[in-house]
Symmetry: C3
Subunit: 404 residues, 3 copies
């Protein structure tokens, strides 16, 4: 782990500094050659077929004998999406509904054409197959260039297992982890999603959230880094690439009042969730939020350059059936609506409000006037620019629609 | 009649071949100087006024003493469509609702201005008048360049009278023909409509249509040309320009099963409609469909580069009042909903699914991977490139809206 | 006052003439450095906050202790509109809801940041503040370039006080004036609004309006200038810049019949409102309309290059409480619905019908074929080209949405 030295912000984001994150500025369609969640496991039953779009790439998912297969969701013949009218005649193939171009699910190879079984094109072409991993209710897909090798391990695109002796939380890959969550489409570029999620200065946006008021939490008005050491960067070769803010590290000033405006943080109970971190390709981890022992993870999965699929999930340690039932109960009656839906709706509102300023051709990336607390965001931009495996090229717009 | 030698497809659609249909690739706004249906006769009552758009050209239609007149639906003054608020003060003029620019319906000449009868511009300008023919419930308009001469006969833009000794069918221009049908707007380029309509490999798309199941028809899974003689081209100087597929000619392989996928054509009764043909500017004829003795005709009339008006009609021989009543009855209770609406809804679905791939700027025309059965489509593209009287230039987008 | 010599129209709008109004042709986003109405006073209560967009510029309005303040409605930090989630913590500041960037309402200066009170950016930046005047129920904003000086008096962007010994009407700035009205968004460029409002040839558009029929008014079919003196231009250095048509001046031919079409103006009562005038930046005055003693004023306020806020108000002389009550009663039960809503709906219809022809990139400005009565419109285009303080540059499209 290294320490970021990226406290330059505001007018202090000099041209020199901006050049250090130029790749990020070009990444409106997302980062290629990374793992992204595509569906909750519970959304894809046995033999079910669904289509999603990630980084502008149309994907078709099918589960057979429990195993999920993912292929490019575009027939090579006339370019239609196959998932809009699923047709699967054998366990090992996917067939296009239009003329019957039929692809092997393991290799993507064109196996036959219903309307022309002996056509000489059979066997000579095919569609891309994508690596899949399914762990703890999430189906992850490696959205990569054709032929990209070797496929990085999934763990490299997830938060690391952080040490936390006092309040340990569940990691997405642990065997005793249980994950429940929601996803929704936000009308904003994925980078605005990430920057909003990891932003130490937007707490006041949530001050009226029912879950904050109900628990009488003294949510700070803002959090300001006071030392370069405030930001811990993760750049080990064999680990996830990311950054952490530890609000209680002593390198942050928790703003509890603003004298000029005569306001102070309401609430009497200390806030929780004071260690947040973000990893490529855009995975947020908030430890001990919404409660001690839990962790909230979020993904901001690019659909196209104007929309992203916003995933917010809560992970719990749950080894026994009783623990699983209890977490499911808490999720159904409390966390789902109060934390994930309502609290985070403020964040979606903020991202969508920024979109017009930052969208392709907009003045935002040049005209924004950042301040000290945005050092974290600038550091993130540079980190992505250093470690993104590839910047996705502009795709067609709008992307094929995401299946509901 | 000649025989097409256009069996090159798939990767076999070489660059040389593609150059042979470059005009077709530029024809996103349709073919100019051709006849198109504009309205059903029953849609335009005496003294009624309606507006339609064909190849991006706004047209205003008015019927006076039974005769239909068509003019450019755009006042020269401030450019408004006149049909959105029809104003006709005499039998021989159309007046713009805004300032009263009044045009002679025969000549298009500016005859007077209500608000300025003596203005010196009167008589010096006007709008284009379009040739009209009305036959058997269809109002055809010649959408041509100003001054194009001579106006080709309507019959040259319709299927020829095909000989069919066993099951003769009605021709659109015959005096004992009765035509009933529907039209709807499809969100796809007109060429995708034509190619879908004439495509010998898309039968499986219709396998679940109620009319197929109800009649227990053994619809083939696909139809493959096995010999260049499979495609008959019509290129006589004094006739319509088009192409015919005769499925039972011996030059086609009717695919009734696919062993790899273990499926076969369901149904026990032989299919009908085994002779289909397509003519410029995009008129499909399916003989003996939906039943022996009937013929289905379809037009794919460009509205703009993204939408076409899809016409599907059934023609019957009906000389007597009783025959006419019977056909009307069959149409109302069977053919309209089961054949034209439901069966062809699958085709509209397919065209709209292709649009994103083939739309202006899309990769479809370059990236499509055709196979043997698409030889027919490639031959069609070349035929259009050879015989289109003119390619319509890009017009403004979106086109003025089609009157309902 | 001078007399316009601008009777060149139709094909007579030569290239030389068109060059005389080139600035007008570039003014699709409106005229900068002018006063525009932003809200009715009654729409902005004490401590209320609203956002509007004028010439593509987002504006936030707030009333404190009765006084209205207007600032640029875009936080310098991340570019969001502040008015979509108003946050005002003190009487002299406006705070952005996202991170608490807080601006002084008098100076626009960044006073503090809630989340970072001591940030070094505080005091070094800010947002533009706009001059405001509030008179007789209208809140006017001077939409100017930053630093434009001196601010012109409001009266210079309103009609002058016209002498009218017989039927004097109320001026927007008079102390005994009462103004009531409506505003709506029209989907057309603001110039089409102005040209429609001031057009002497569009009377026939209104011939079926209930208020015309109910009063049996002999609305002329058109009005034609017969002499250059028909148009009076106002170009005094110290006055509003505008133009007047006095229909009864003897320099106009009121068209009451058209023999070719065998129609004549219906109604038996003389029309009212026979003196209309238009001033920069687009303010229409119709004296003695909708009745003697009243005046209708209209503004066509650019929102972006495709939409304008259409203001139509009626001004009455009302010194006493009884006169005010009576005018309010007439407005509520007669003028609002019959004159402003219904009668002027025809005008909105016409403007929106022109938009496709004249929109950015459309052929309208080149292809329109004007006639004699359009001399007034051509004169207006030249007047604007001579006197517009500045042409607004193209802004981002679509403009931030206007608050309802």
């Amino acid at each position: 782990m290294s320490v970021a030295n990226s406290m330059d912000v505001g007018s202090a984001v000099s041209k020199v500094s901006k050049r250090q994150y130029e790749p990020y500025l070009k990444a409106s369609w997302g980062l290629l050659n990374h793992w992204y969640p595509a569906l909750f496991s519970s959304e894809l039953g046995e033999n079910e077929v669904k289509g999603v779009t990630i980084c502008g790439v149309p994907l078709i998912l099918r589960r057979v004998h429990g195993k999920v297969h993912v292929l490019r969701d575009q027939c090579v013949h006339r370019g239609v999406r196959m998932s809009i009218r699923p047709m699967c005649l054998t366990d090992d193939t996917i067939t296009c509904w239009y003329h019957g171009y039929t692809y092997n699910m393991e290799t993507g190879r064109l196996e036959t054409i219903i309307a022309a079984p002996d056509d000489e094109i059979v066997g000579t072409t095919g569609i891309q197959v994508f690596p899949v991993e399914e762990v703890n209710n999430l189906i992850y897909v490696f959205v990569g260039e054709p032929g990209y090798e070797p496929i990085p391990e999934l763990r490299l695109d997830l938060p690391p297992k952080l040490e936390n002796p006092v309040h340990p939380v569940a990691h997405p890959l642990d065997t005793d982890t249980m994950i429940l969550g929601v996803r929704r489409t936000a009308n904003a570029n994925w980078r605005l999603g990430v920057e909003n999620g990891f932003d130490p200065g937007h707490q006041m946006l949530h001050r009226d959230a029912a879950i904050v008021l109900a628990r009488d939490t003294a949510l700070p008005l803002g959090i300001n880094p006071t030392d370069p050491r405030a930001i811990t960067a993760y750049e080990d070769e064999d680990g996830p690439k990311g950054m952490m803010n530890e609000w209680n590290s002593g390198f942050y000033d928790l703003v509890m009042a603003n004298e000029r405006l005569n306001i102070k943080a309401a609430g009497n109970n200390p806030t929780v969730g004071l260690r947040t971190s973000m990893y490529l390709p855009g995975v947020l981890m908030v430890e001990n939020w919404p409660a001690y022992g839990l962790a909230q993870y979020e993904w901001f999965v690019p659909i196209d350059d104007k929309t992203h699929e916003y995933w917010s999930v809560i992970a719990a340690k749950a080894s026994t059936e009783e623990e699983r039932k209890r977490f499911q109960y808490d999720f159904d009656y409390l966390w789902r609506d109060q934390a994930l839906i309502a609290f985070n709706a403020d964040d979606v509102f903020a991202r969508e409000a920024m979109e017009n300023f930052y969208e392709e051709g907009g003045p935002g990336w040049d005209d924004e006037q950042l301040c000290g607390m945005d050092a974290i965001i600038v550091a993130w931009r540079k980190l992505v620019s250093r470690h993104a495996r590839e910047i996705q090229k502009p795709q067609r717009n709008p992307s094929p629609k995401l299946a509901e």
